[in-house]
Point group: C2
Chain length 336, copies 2
């Protein structure tokens, strides 16, 4: 198999770093990796598969010799740079929200809708982290029981807001321990020892953009008929998002059957033995590629209802790993 030339835009960010890690650990036939940055970080050295690579500033022509470009540079940068990269011949897998709802752009979770890649036109969008982990867990359930409605409340880690937010939580708890003042700049309020019912900006309908991503991306990826009611909350966790998910299905659903179903499903690890206090947790999912599912139990308030607790590493399956898995799928299906 021929080797592929990769680029990573936003190579110095929290997700970009993980994209390089995930490429490094993958079995992909990688000929080269070009780390790119939108800012003046050119000259900065990184290591990839034991070789030093140098960050370049993205310019016209940066993608001329690139097969697959992984983007994690925010929506604004993506709006202008992705079309250029596609023009120059690269297939772009973009982690921002810029293109997700574009009809010409497949929005893909390889375990859920890999076939949507067939119609790609050079640009593929990586879904939002909260959506990815929820849909990996719900796809096998939807296939068997038909999900009609989802009520989800999230418990999201600060790394979803990037390295500066991780630094802010560290600085706030250090301030608490050292009895010095607690300052906030990434978030509007203190995140240490707090829960913020506010992720991304508020829309006119009273929901945040993060909440509406879960609504709209679920429809695009899994099934337009599924209704999603979401509340997205930031909590003082460094890494891994947790989700309290309630579903209503068309067919009768049984927790025991769902446990067996999910155990055999791709990308999922069931941790669900409450008698032995086994359930998914953020601190255990860190650094792992699977989506962890537990607390699977009947919802007794409706005829066909189920609750579960879904945890995944927001920087891996929620971002970088899913992007690399899209690249793997593209290559395996001869779509590059």
């Amino acid at each position: 198999m021929r080797g592929f030339k990769f680029a990573v835009l936003g190579a110095l960010g929290a997700v970009g770093q993980q994209m390089l890690n995930m490429l490094d650990q993958s079995d992909l036939p990688i000929e080269s990796v070009k780390p790119l940055d939108v800012k003046q970080n050119n000259g900065k050295k990184l290591v990839f598969r034991n070789k030093e690579i140098t960050v370049e500033e993205v310019v016209e022509g940066s993608f001329k010799d690139v097969d697959i470009a992984l983007f994690s540079a925010g929506a604004e940068a993506s709006m202008s740079i992705a079309p250029m990269a596609v023009q120059e011949g690269a297939v772009v897998i973009d982690n921002s929200s810029a293109w997700r709802m574009d009809n010409d752009v497949p929005l893909v979770i390889p375990e859920v809708n890999p076939h949507d890649l067939d119609r790609h036109k050079g640009l593929i969008a990586n879904p939002n982290c909260s959506t990815i982990q929820m849909l990996v867990a719900l796809k096998p359930i939807h296939d068997r029981y038909i999900i009609k409605r989802i009520v989800v409340s999230t418990y999201q880690a600060v790394s979803g807001s990037g390295q500066r937010a991780i630094d802010e939580l560290i600085s706030q708890i250090t301030g608490f321990v050292n009895k010095s003042p607690i300052e906030s700049s990434v978030y509007p309020y203190q995140i240490a020892f707090n829960a913020l019912p506010h992720i991304d900006i508020f829309q006119d309908n009273g929901y945040t953009k993060e909440e509406m991503k879960m609504v709209n991306e679920t429809k695009k990826i899994l099934d337009r008929a599924i209704e999603v009611n979401a509340t997205a909350v930031r909590i003082p966790v460094f890494r891994c998002h947790s989700e309290s998910v309630n579903i209503e299905t068309a067919k009768p659903i049984d927790p025991h059957d769902v446990r067996l179903l999910l155990k055999d499903a791709p990308g999922i690890r069931v941790i669900d033995d409450v008698g032995s206090l086994k359930y998914p947790m953020a601190i255990q999912a860190e650094g792992k590629g699977e989506v962890f599912v537990g607390r699977i139990r009947k919802d007794y308030t409706i005829p066909n209802g189920l609750n579960m607790w879904i945890v995944a590493d927001n920087l891996l399956k929620g971002a970088s790993l899913n992007a690399v898995q899209i690249a793997e799928t593209l290559i395996a299906r001869n779509l590059v």
Copy 2:
């Protein structure tokens, strides 16, 4: 009005301390306060209304000269001591779960079901913290729109597990800052930088006792017809529980009307202006007696649905303050 003789059992615990504070700050005609403890802490000195008071070990006869006894010494102690206290002539307001579902024991939130106090037989139960704040917010809504079903996910503070849990979180974050090992004993796993979908013990049906308290106490306090589907989660917050609450009502419901309704309701403060980033938060509710409600918005997935974010100080309205308000109501209604 005559003065009343109070006792506080568990006076040295996190909630017991707040019971003394709440009594101190109340307008109640208090003749005396006797701090009691089940352990050998007798001799320990506390200050109440600028007077030194001495903690006594609870013994037979401790309640002979007591009008109202506030209990916060856990379910086990309450099972044996509450009947004795009632026998000795005190009216007991118990904060534990021991008596809550007993048919002979009123379970009361003064803003919600004060009339249930009329039939008391000497023993009154204080509801669970998560239930109290949810029902204070939902009572006016139920009265007007008839709530049929509640789906709630909680974000609960460690102070709900007592002073040792507060100390454990402090010790874990101090360990993190000082790069020393993180140890857990109150919780089965690290709580710092984590979310534990596990509060109180697991039941055979897969739910925790905390979750079933919200189900059963809601039925007893507000309306047997209301179905509650609960997921209770501990997060690394010191004080104040937050709740993501979704409701389905029998009548059409509008967020704007609900905001106006709650603004005039007792014990509630509406903080809901997302355009100015105003929503309830744990760090702001600390030390306050009201239940804070925000993020009030239509649930677009069902005909009559609404979401809201409810925050209250679990040690105050969720425990000590509600108990003192029960005492105030008993006195105002001549039920002592």
